[in-house]
Symmetry: C2
Subunit: 408 residues, 2 copies
């Protein structure tokens, strides 16, 4: 068998374990010197690659240095938000495949979410159309957990663990004063409420804070919300509420849009900001109680302080599986997770046609949303608990701060 | 010697180690059964105590259960923001001391910051005036590190470690895209910039992000800021800026006040919000680049994910020292930290007259602020590095989330 090189790229928003998937792929590639030559990394994804930005991972992170990726957040290779044209006749495709051929690439793995799977779909379709032998596979990655045809996605478990533990800390903080207060915690998730739902894991006992959880899957009603908050005061003076950044009213208007103008990002998504701030003001104004809001912000996707060991191991597993699938000639597929059982928790990898994944979204099942749409049922807890398990010790530098690998 | 009881209270905003100080005091009290009877905790500080809220710490956290305090954030006893009247003739003082006598209290330790030291000052002055044998001592506590006559305060080290590691993660996140961007990180600190200064610890090498740091100790000039940001683009496409929530212009106007109305809290402090958001919009509008802001928010004071071992141990030490000082009859003092040397780092406890501490603020020395007021010099690094050292493993529950003790 002729030696071919492997190329790995990262795309979209970072997660705590996107570099663990990269580690898995590179480590697995090194196990096959008889089939795989070099392991290249695209710098800044497809966009950087088109500008000639690429690095040799074996030179950049030789030997055990590769393991630094396992506890480094962000995207080691750099990322991009770049949408390939719909028309496969566009010259960019020819340019890309010529570059692949020039570099002796046989296998291309792209680590990303929805939009990146769109890139995998287009490239694999173009490759097949042109009779290219280069295989193109997608490695799942998103804190939003919104990819279809997979039990969950790498990145979600660590983000969910960060949300659950941070919300638990915020609940403790909220409870120190003996006065009525409302704390709104705004959690990432434009259309899917998985990460906001993870807020319920923060409860230490039944009836504990967060007392209310609002997902974007169901319509948000401001009057019903205010009524629920008032009811909660009979249980706890300090009411903590988790809300998804993407909650909408019955007409589909984002709650944050009541507050400010919204623009569009390069993929045509609405840029959201401020539903927590809006609800804080609403509560203060209408209920006359102390209110504050906390936007968990980018730490949800870039903190390794709450890395889930399960998530990290699964990201590595997906990376390794992708290389094996590529060696077997699979193309146009995404590595998926198949849950075998909840207790004991057991998971294996599979492959799904990427065309059935890109541009679709998996949301929280409506039947899992309970308590007049303000809570999650047992199904969610059973689903989520295995994903946030296990602590990872992040190496520290001489100052006692987390030690990360970075590109030279 | 007659057995007297000890009473401990917590006041003001929580920190990651305010409960470690409580642990130190309670553990030390248990070492003296020949002198100290019961160890009581005020629930919700002076305010709750006046309503009769008190608990028996030996019953609530017997034996080794007390150790749970070492890794529990928030204020286990609950807190308050309550200012005693200036006039020592006010009947509240008599009420308080009658309650102390009724409970057989010989020693009262109040854990808190500036405003709580004001309470310690008034109570000890009243006690002396009335010839009471009850001693009243202050245990320092504040993430702001703004108490005078002490090298630093318990709570600062862990908050600084949280800020430094989170800013380091945000810098990694900011650097993933190959486009110009500005990330404003808004850090707590109304008048003292200690915590914002800790942002510079995030740098992995000289010239690394955060490239600019703005403290409230020096006037903030919007035009100079925009010029500095533009200059930074020659070094790095992704510019990360740390700003204190309390930055002000040369006329003393808070930058956040350009954006919104500001109210007053019960101590007459201005309630600030949004200088990060304001600067984000300023950068986007004036420089036409991608800009975002991240408010680190309450996790700075309530997260134990980045607990500093040094800070935790020193909080315990201060708690223990307070009990010993109380047994020796000291009153109207605050436990202070005296740094013996930087390398090796060595610290001991002392006592300072609380009247010289309350209602004063220690700010970052102007000579430590460098780079046209956008950076910190070596003095700060030498000062701060020992305080953020050492990792603490927080126990986890069956779901892998941090396990805290809480009042029944």
């Amino acid at each position: 068998m002729e030696l071919k090189n492997i190329l790995v790229g990262q795309s979209g928003g970072p997660t705590a374990v996107i570099n663990s998937s990269l580690y898995g792929a590179a480590a697995q590639a090194r196990l096959h010197p008889e089939k795989i030559g070099k392991c290249f990394g695209m710098v800044n994804g497809i966009e950087g690659f088109l500008k000639g930005k690429v690095l040799d991972l074996d030179e950049a992170l030789p030997g055990d240095e590769l393991k630094g990726l396992l506890t480094t957040p962000g995207a080691y290779l750099g990322s991009c938000r770049y949408k390939l044209p719909e028309d496969l006749e566009d010259p960019v495709y020819r340019t890309l495949f010529e570059k692949f051929e020039d570099m002796g690439i046989g296998y291309f793995l792209y680590i990303g979410g929805n939009d990146s799977m769109d890139t995998v779909s287009k490239l694999s379709r173009y490759g097949r159309k042109m009779g290219s032998s280069i295989v193109v596979l997608g490695e799942p990655k998103t804190i939003d957990n919104d990819l279809v045809l997979t039990d969950h996605t790498p990145g979600f478990g660590s983000a969910a663990r960060y949300v659950a533990s941070t919300v638990r800390e915020i609940c403790v903080d909220a409870g120190v004063y003996d006065t009525r207060s409302v704390t709104i915690v705004e959690i990432m998730g434009r259309h899917a409420g998985w990460l906001t739902a993870a807020g319920v894991l923060a409860r230490k006992f039944r009836g504990d804070n967060p007392l209310l959880v609002y997902l974007p899957e169901v319509p948000f009603d401001q009057e019903a919300f205010l009524k629920k908050v008032e009811e909660c005061f009979s249980v706890n003076n300090a009411v903590v509420v988790c809300v998804s950044e993407g909650i909408r009213d019955k007409d589909g208007v984002f709650v944050c849009e009541y507050d400010s103008e919204a623009g569009l990002d390069s993929f045509g998504h609405k840029m959201l900001a401020g539903c927590g701030k809006y609800l804080e003001r609403l509560v203060r104004g209408r209920l006359g109680v102390k209110a504050r809001s906390v936007e968990l912000n980018v730490s949800q996707r870039c903190s390794v302080s709450m890395l889930s060991a399960a998530d990290q191991q699964e990201a590595v597993m997906a990376g390794r599986y992708g290389v094996q699938a590529a060696l077997e000639g699979e193309t146009g597929k995404m590595i998926s997770f198949i849950r075998k059982s909840d207790a004991p928790y057991s998971l294996s990898c599979g492959l799904e046609d990427v065309d059935h994944i890109c541009n679709r979204e998996k949301t929280v099942p409506l039947s899992w949303i309970t308590g007049d749409w303000t809570d999650l049922g047992e199904e969610f807890l059973t689903y989520a608990k295995p994903l946030v398990k296990g602590n990872v010790q992040v190496p520290v530098d001489e100052d006692g701060l987390p030690l990360f690998v970075c590109r030279k």
